[in-house]
């Protein structure tokens, strides 16, 4: 039993069995996080390098903690965004990493496909921590872990994803993951931020946010980037908040006990009100804890076992 590939680039090519294995393994990992001594010796002597071309304290810290709880050594490779535009090639970065002898490379990059490019040029495992608007598989895995923990299943659940789908790697990974696990996914957001042909992925594109939330078991709200307004993709935050913001009234359309989720950081008062973000149905903080557990599971499954993968 194990994962079939050496890398985790996205959830598009993963099986339901593999997702289940990761989520099942994350359970025992969460128990470790709850201990006073949060450390097991599993990955002693292994090295995890985090390479972040985009600032993301939360994801980076989550991966580093996951590695440390499993006794791996972690090194952060500071890769400023500017060096990308300067044309310092990702291939060169890859060569350096290979020379340093890492076992896993965790990559965050502003451009879609960067993780795949890196994985192709390295023999060691690559975990995609978000590449452009492509995928952010560990976020989707922690989302699914959180939902399964609360609801006991994923199959047959109704999941609404609200916001800027076009630029969201989280949305894409969530769509792949949830549909593979048998959930029904609905999308809502400004039509200028719904990417072409997405309905062909087996999701329902709703015209209004109400239609998407109606009867939903999970309401996953995406962050709206202020720069999208400057790019003219939607008219303004006030209108966005009025048309797509999640208020207690809108949330009341969801199924009783529906979970409110957000990949963070939240623009309070824009994509959701503080009442919703801090309300009883919100599992946003648990998502963060579960993120560490899911990443521990993934590190164990990728490099905890036999070397001849």
């Amino acid at each position: 039993m194990g994962l079939s590939g050496k890398d985790l680039i996205g959830l598009r090519d993963i099986t339901a069995e593999e997702i289940k294995l990761i989520l099942d393994t994350a359970g025992p990992m969460k128990e470790i996080i709850a201990r006073k001594i949060k450390k097991v010796p599993t990955l002693r002597g292994r090295t995890v390098i985090t390479v972040f071309y985009e600032a993301s304290t939360r994801t980076r810290t989550s991966f580093e903690l996951a590695a440390k709880y499993l006794s791996a050594d972690t090194v952060g490779l500071a890769a400023a965004t500017s060096s990308v535009s300067k044309g310092e090639s990702l291939k060169d970065t890859a060569r350096n990493i290979a020379a340093m002898g890492a076992d896993v490379v965790v990559l965050r990059h502003p451009m879609s496909g960067a993780a795949e490019l890196l994985a192709r040029s390295l023999n060691v495992s690559v975990i995609n921590a978000g590449d452009g608007a492509h995928e952010h598989p560990t976020q989707a895995l922690l989302d699914m872990y959180t939902v399964r923990e609360k609801k006991g299943r994923l199959d047959g659940l109704k999941v609404a994803i609200i916001g800027d789908i076009l630029h969201s790697r989280v949305a894409r990974s969530d769509i792949w993951g949830y549909t593979i696990m048998g959930s029904e996914v609905r999308l809502a957001g400004p039509s200028t931020l719904i990417p072409a042909g997405i309905e062909k992925l087996g999701v329902r594109v709703c015209r209004t946010v109400e239609e998407a939330i109606e009867g939903a078991d999970v309401v996953n709200v995406l962050r709206i980037q202020m720069e999208r307004q400057q790019q003219g993709l939607f008219p303004g935050l006030r209108e966005y908040s009025r048309m797509f913001g999640i208020s207690p009234e809108r949330l009341s359309l969801a199924a009783p006990g529906a979970l409110v989720m957000h990949p963070g950081p939240i623009n309070r008062g824009v994509e959701m009100s503080s009442e919703v973000a801090d309300g009883l149905q919100s599992v946003i903080c648990e998502q963060v804890t579960n993120g560490v557990a899911v990443r521990m599971a993934l590190l164990y499954l990728l490099i905890g076992g036999s070397e001849q993968k």
Partner: protein, 180 residues
Amino acid sequence: MAKLKAQLLDQEGIRRSLTRIAHEIIERNKGTDNLALVGIRRRGAPLAERLAGRIREIEGRAVPVGILDITLYRDDLTTLAHQPLVRSTDVPFPVSGRTVVLVDDVIYTGRTIRAALGALIDLGRPQVIQLAVLIDRGHRELPIRADYVGKNVPTSRKEAVSVRLQEIDGEERVVIMELD
């Protein structure tokens, strides 16, 4: 495929061994004060439950039982062809200051017990750790020995000892298998 060579214990044999071990634990520890049992997954877990049941019958007092998954503590992860599943550790009581009896089905090289000691100590600081096993088949590779043994069985390295328990395997016996 491995083929059956001999049966070491039947249902009655297992029952008698566990009863004897339960008596020995009580005697050695002068009762059940401060005592806890922790079974090592997988077959140590039901054995720990059974021992706790036996002790309660004898002493009339319940002993807390926990389950330890030692996968993350194994020293052979990189050499195994198949990556073992990680299961949960469930020790719902503080171990610090207690007398903890680790329970497993078979002791062989001692490496599982070494991993279990590591896992247990990460949960706290027990006063004493003891070890109970149903079968000791020899061939130790580490300086570890069991405090309570159901049956000592000399074996060859080409053999495997298989403990079959009702809770997991749907039958109740201990057999010795010849490996190809």
